[in-house]
Amino acid sequence: MPTERAGYTVTMFLIDVSSSMGNIRAVEVENADKSSRTIEMTNLEWSLQYVKLKIQEMIFNGRKTDQCGVIIFGSEGIRSLQHLLCLVLKPEADTNNRLNTTNDGYESVVEYIPIAQPNARTLAKIDALQASNTSGDPIDALIVGIDSQTRYLGNKKWTRKIVIVTDGESPIEVEDWEATVEKMDELGVTLTVVGVDFDDNELPYTEPNKSNIKSVNENFYKELTSAMQSGVVGTCAYAIREATAPEVKIVKSTLVGTQLRIGDIDARSDEAIELPVKMSKCTALARPKTWKKFTLMQKTKTGENQMEVDEPEANFDPDKPAVYSQVKMKTEYVVEPEEDEDEDKETVKSEDIDGDVKMKQENDDDTVNLLDGKPAATQLPSKESATYIDKEDLIRGFKYGSTYAPCPDGQFPKLQTHKGIDVISFFPAKTFRRELAMGELSYVWADPNRPVEQVALSSIVQAMHERRLMAIGRLVTRDDMDPKMGVLAPIMFDGVDCLLWIPAPFADDVRKYTFASLDKLVNKKGEILTKHPYLPTQEQLEAMDKFVDAMDLMDAGEKTEYGDRYPWFDTRESYNPAIHRVKQAMFHCAVVKDIVEYPVPPPHPETIKYFDPPKRVLKRARDAVEEFPKKVAKAKREDYARVAEDEDDEMLLLDRKQPASSRTQSQMNIVQGESSSSAHAKVGAAKAKEGSETEDDDDEEEMLLDKKKTPPAAPASSSRDPLPTPARSLSPQIDAGRAPGRIIGNTYPLKDFKKNIARGDLVTKAVEDLAAVITEVVMKPFATRRTDEMLECMSFLRGTCLVEDEIDAWNAFIRDLKEKCLTKPGNPHFWEKIQGVGRELSLINKQEAKKQGGDSDVTENEAVEFIS
């Protein structure tokens, strides 16, 4: 396959609209509040999401050479209708359908959208597709697709792609397909088959009760694609997911020519050095694509003729469509009136009226209003007395305090400068203050076509490298442009030497704010303090050292081939979440009709993979984190006792109201928790200072919390903050039957455990405690009454251990339990029950562990044997 150019592609979408595509399926969607619900749609609607995402990508990139066409198969009545439509639309479109009108073999195939650069209209047309009452053969469609594509492209060397979207439930005539494959290979076509509920080992997915014809067809597609030079089959769910995966848009930096100068090339050119060089960007901030603004079109009354479909503006009927139009921005210039008494009255009046109107609008301004199509209330210019001025009549100028300095050109004569980089001097690289680097960086290369200059620059770079030097430079990008300062650092790549231009600040750019010393506190008598609530104690310093060690990322990444680990976090894999989330949202709203009903799915995991520290590190740091807040707050404990109490109340309140949310969503929720916790802590801290908390305050806060309705997943743990609360990390209920030092009670062990896990802290401790509780309960008399409960506990515990990398803890626990059950006094009955459950409660083996990223030394055989 030739290397792919961006654009220069024609993609044919062959869409199966056979009757089976009309089957209803349940699709899970996530709501804005992170809960999920199931909605029903046809297989066709579902699979079209993939097509629309792909087409939206073309619209998003906006390349003229990125085009597509849509062909449907398995259609019946549409054909004639479409045919008619084509005649009306574009008479020449008729010839496009030559193949299927002339050849009766292809009657179920319709060229639905001719090849062109897609836009929103294309998506709307695709939305109009419905399943038919008949069925069609994808191979027919494939032949028509290849034919249209070839006819459209002629001899052009564009990339040719064909995508078949089908459920594989219709019969395929599997003769002569080899000829088609040959043809496609000859033309360099890439074929993608996207199948509804096709089996996929990677996802993994296997369709239960697959029809016979479908499995035959699936196998056929596999055979077909593997016979091709580039063909692939995939299941629709995977295709939709991957269509939203972040993808870095690769930008090739252009080389911009300039000069590197050392010395005075005008007067002393015999000595001065001037090297022609090229600059190219090393980093450049990428930003999310901007949104376009739209509004619901205001409708005008036109009497009774709304029955006429052709007049879209004529409908007032709620059943009639809502039309959104794009909003354009324009700028007006006004001179506000002086605060003059006479004028003022009027101004105030009109403002008042306007203010009122606005208030009303705002009051009922919710999404419903946004949709109701009511014309927005009269829009007065907010100040009638203001004078509107034409832009042509304005004079440009600057403010010099309250003095005006007119300057019709918009700028004063500029400093005369000469394009190039002037080297000012060299200095030891280690003295450069990293924080002075100001912005986007550029490489400075020698001209790729000039070997002498390459050697020249290389000699400078290597000399600088040898002496560990940087150079101070002054850059002018074009003649008479404002100069910029920067430093040049030598860089030696494998095959080339170059300099790195790092912008550095001018004197004017540096702010020298003063900050109080963190170490030296002087009292009124001029003595230096060694103990103060602002100064960390030795104990705290030690705790912090432990924390820093535990949170080290240098060995927290992927494993290397030698068995040790890479550091965690790599800029080259850190996607800008805003860019990719905005893109996802844009794609989403282009493919759905109502974002209230179909909210945007959660971000692709790849976009937010660096949002939380790696599990490995979190686990390692658990002890240090638990210990640290106590130590830090010790000295302040008395002062803040009241705060702690207040927070206890809040926590109770939250606990009661918010059921612990599930573990899988903690990623996003933690942050919400953080915000509410900060609010609490602030309120709390402020109160402590006033020293006058009253019941009212608490009530108010309660109301506040009610109103806010933010569901923090970890309110209890994060509101702990720097306060000493070992007891409070437990649930405040005392009757939970908890043994001293345990966080899991004997009364409701599973409930306690789930709560702790949901909170996400103290996992190791929770696992340990639950294991102990289970063993205790099982060993007690009358344990049979709680057998089912204990089995449930164990099943949940095992699941948790797998996910939380507590595999060793589980294996130790279950071995210990087995031993205890089978030795006297024991509880052999309980062990039989466990055996009844079987493999699900046995040791965790290597394979299982690996799936979750953990490790175990137990083999599958051992695990099976252990339980039998």
């Binding site: 439509l85 897609p118 929103a120 020519g257 300039t258 010395g263 005075d264 015999d270 000595e271 090393c282 980093t283 450049a284 999310p288 949104w291 376009k292 139009s325 354009k328 700028t331 001179v335 949709l371 829009q379 304005l394 004079i395 010099y400 305090g401 003095t403 005006y404 300095a405 007119p406 030891p428 450069f432 680097a437 912005g439 986007e440 960086l441 490489y443 390459q454 290389s458 770079v461 600040p505 001018f506 020298k512 704010y513 002087v522 008598k525 609530p533 602002y534 960390p536 310093l541 912090m544 050292d545 240098m554 965690w568 844009m586 209230v596 984190v625 807040p629 002062d639 953080e674 801290a685």
Partner: protein, 663 residues
């Protein structure tokens, strides 16, 4: 915690770009409060100019003038006033309409917005005093007997600020004095108490006092004699600490050399404003408060404004943005705007006949103007709130620590933006300072940097930052390195560009040695990049012209000196010879004979005839026969000089001869 609230109240509509500029909208008011006693007027030899006398008061006033000049450009809406104390001059009747101020204090310039005439007034006074130092004594006769109670000074300040300063501004008094014990005589206790009370009044009015103590001469300045017992911590935000924690001495600036006054004031010229104040989460359930400051921010030229001639008077015109429906130009309420992606090429053009109408006409695109049509009650676009949540990913502002890495992991290449600086904020979370301090120390000791997920403002997007610890250095009163973390934004994968060139010729040992020779000569062995050495020439050039224009003076461009230009004389003196040697070595380098194979198909082999030398082309230029060259020859030449190669042949010829003209 005013800055925090401000930042919360920000409008969220505009996109990320507005950056720090919004913090500059808050006005700043400075009242210079200068001691005018005998000792301040005591003449001594000017250290800079021979045979010229100067005095502390002169220096103080000159500093005030310089600050005014600087401020008028940085913050044209700021206000400044000058009050003198220990002078017998009385305010002329109702010069300001406000209240009469205390005896022996004199309001020289009431607080008012900065303007050219105001600065010129001060310059005239200073010029007169430069001629004859006694001019100052005449203008502000000193109080001969005793001193004015400091309590009265603070009361006057309070009244002046109350009358002149806008309510919302940040208000500061720059107190300049050389007397460390103004009330050494009887009744001093009473006077001290009244000074303290009036100072508290002043602070409660939202005014910060920033003292500049001149300790020049043998006398010295001992702050503990009087001032340490009355001064309050300078940070407004620490106000509440006052009652609780009176054990710490506030910061004050003690200047041992009067010449340092201006540079010390420069540090305080811009009020210290935090750009953000957010929680810093070290671990789940373990959060402290921090504030972020922009220590390195590009200072740009002021943007021009539009003025309109209304009734023969120049007035500022403000711009408003109006949203209107495409097509019918109806104005749209901002709250009714929804957001969606670009609909793609051609989607906004009306389709002829709108013939898509079939049974499913509720799904068509009609309306003509970029419209999208859905069923009534459906909305295919997002609200402003949705948009914001996509940008922030639903995160709340804060910094979340992800872990630590070795210092060496932070590469020079990992840079896209200027850094920010964070410092603990005890007011939002108690225990912040000591926790922060412990973290800083531990990281410095272990040679670590932090990696953190940062969302510093409500309408920004989350970014990953490196936390680079900075150790505390220097004396408390001097500006040196404060303790804290530099927040360095790391590039995303999306921001990183691949190296544009992968292979090229490399140096020989000989060439490198030749380069080392002159590089060594041009190296400042103990130097570094020192921003203070490089004032922005373009900005200064602009500001000087602006000032001249406002003062209605002619500007002489020749008087401008660009300090960023390389010191070529010194360079040639030190290394000129060695640079020449290097150039000669280069001509002998084997690479001179290497021809890079032409990669583009366009170039034909025959074109490689003779690459014309610069000297040859120069002689053609001198003879006026440049036009004889082929276009590709001209282009090759221009390209080698980094000039543009666009345009017709005539343009190229012109450009080439221009180049010879200037070289």
């Amino acid at each position: 915690m005013a800055p925090y609230d401000d930042w919360n109240a920000l409008e969220e509509e505009e996109e990320e770009l507005q950056d720090a500029s919004m913090f500059d909208t808050k006005r700043d008011v400075i009242l210079f409060c200068i001691d005018c006693s005998e000792s301040m007027l005591e003449p001594y030899d000017d250290p800079k100019y021979e045979d010229v006398k100067t005095c502390h008061l002169f220096t103080a006033l000159e500093a005030a003038m310089q600050i005014q000049k600087k401020k008028i450009i940085v913050g044209p809406n700021d206000s400044v006033g000058i009050m003198l104390f220990n002078t017998t001059r009385r305010s002329e009747t109702n010069r300001s309409e406000g209240s009469e101020i205390k005896k022996n204090t004199f309001l020289f310039q009431p607080i008012s917005p900065l303007s050219a005439p105001k600065i010129q007034e001060l310059i005239q006074l200073l010029d007169a005093a430069r001629e004859d130092l006694d001019e100052l004594r005449k203008t502000f006769p000193p109080l001969i007997t005793g001193r004015v109670p400091m309590g009265d000074v603070f009361t006057s300040c309070n009244w002046i600020i109350r009358d002149g300063a806008p309510k919302t501004a940040s208000k500061r008094v720059f107190l300049i004095t050389d007397e460390d014990d103004p009330h050494s005589n009887v009744g001093s206790k009473q006077l001290t108490i009244s000074a303290r009370t009036t100072l508290i009044d002043l602070t409660q009015a939202g005014v910060t006092v920033e003292p500049f103590f001149i300790s020049a001469g043998e006398k010295g300045f001992n702050a503990s004699k009087f001032y340490s017992s009355i001064l309050l911590p300078t940070d407004l935000e620490d106000e509440e600490e006052l009652q609780k924690d009176a054990s710490i001495l506030p910061e004050s600036i003690s200047i041992s050399r009067i010449e340092d006054l201006l540079s010390q004031m420069r540090f305080h010229e811009v009020p210290k404003r935090a750009q953000f104040s957010v929680p810093f989460q070290l671990a789940d359930g373990f959060t402290i408060g921090i504030k972020g400051y922009g220590l390195v921010t590009e200072q740009k030229k002021g943007t021009y404004k539009y003025f309109a001639d209304v009734d023969n008077e120049l007035k500022v015109a403000t711009s408003r943005t109006i949203y209107a429906e495409e097509g019918n130009q109806k104005e749209v309420d901002k709250t009714k705007i929804v957001y969606g992606p670009d609909l793609g090429m051609g989607a906004s053009k009306p389709e002829v006949g709108a013939a898509d109408d079939d049974e499913d006409n509720d799904e068509e695109i009609t309306g003509g103007f970029g419209a999208r049509v859905v069923k009534a009650g459906q909305r295919p676009f997002f609200t402003a709130e949705d948009i914001r949540s996509f940008r922030t990913l639903g995160l709340e502002p804060g910094i979340k620590l992800l872990g630590f890495k070795d210092r060496a992991e932070l590469q020079l290449e990992d840079n896209v933006k200027h850094s920010q600086f964070i410092y603990p904020d005890e007011m939002s979370y108690s225990g912040s300072k000591r926790t922060f301090s412990a973290l800083l120390k531990s990281m410095i000791e272990k040679g670590k940097i932090g990696i953190a997920l940062c969302l510093t403002r409500r309408n920004a997007s989350p970014v990953f930052c490196a936390l680079l610890p900075q150790e505390e250095k220097g004396e408390a009163s001097d500006w040196d390195d404060p303790a804290g973390f530099h927040l360095i934004q790391l590039p995303f994968a999306d921001d990183i560009r691949a190296a544009a060139i992968e292979e090229s010729m490399r140096t020989s040992k000989e060439m490198k040695t030749a380069a080392l020779a002159w590089i060594d000569k041009l190296t400042m062995k103990k130097g570094t990049y020192e921003p203070d050495s490089f004032p922005n020439p373009a900005l200064a050039y602009h500001n000087e012209q602006l000032q001249a224009s406002a003062f209605r003076e002619e500007y002489d461009p020749d008087s401008f000196e660009d300090l960023t230009e390389p010191k070529v004389d010194a360079m040639h003196k030190r290394a000129g010879k060695l640079m020449k040697d290097w150039k000669i070595a280069l001509t002998e380098d084997p690479s001179i004979n290497v021809v890079v194979p032409a990669t583009g198909q366009k170039r034909k082999a025959t074109n490689q005839d003779v690459a014309l030398g610069e000297a040859e082309i120069r002689s053609m230029c001198d003879n006026g026969t440049l036009a004889k060259l082929r276009v590709d020859q001209l282009k090759d030449f221009l390209k080698s000089k980094g000039e543009s190669v666009s345009g017709k042949k005539a343009d190229l010829v012109d450009r080439a001869s221009d180049w010879f003209g200037s070289h």
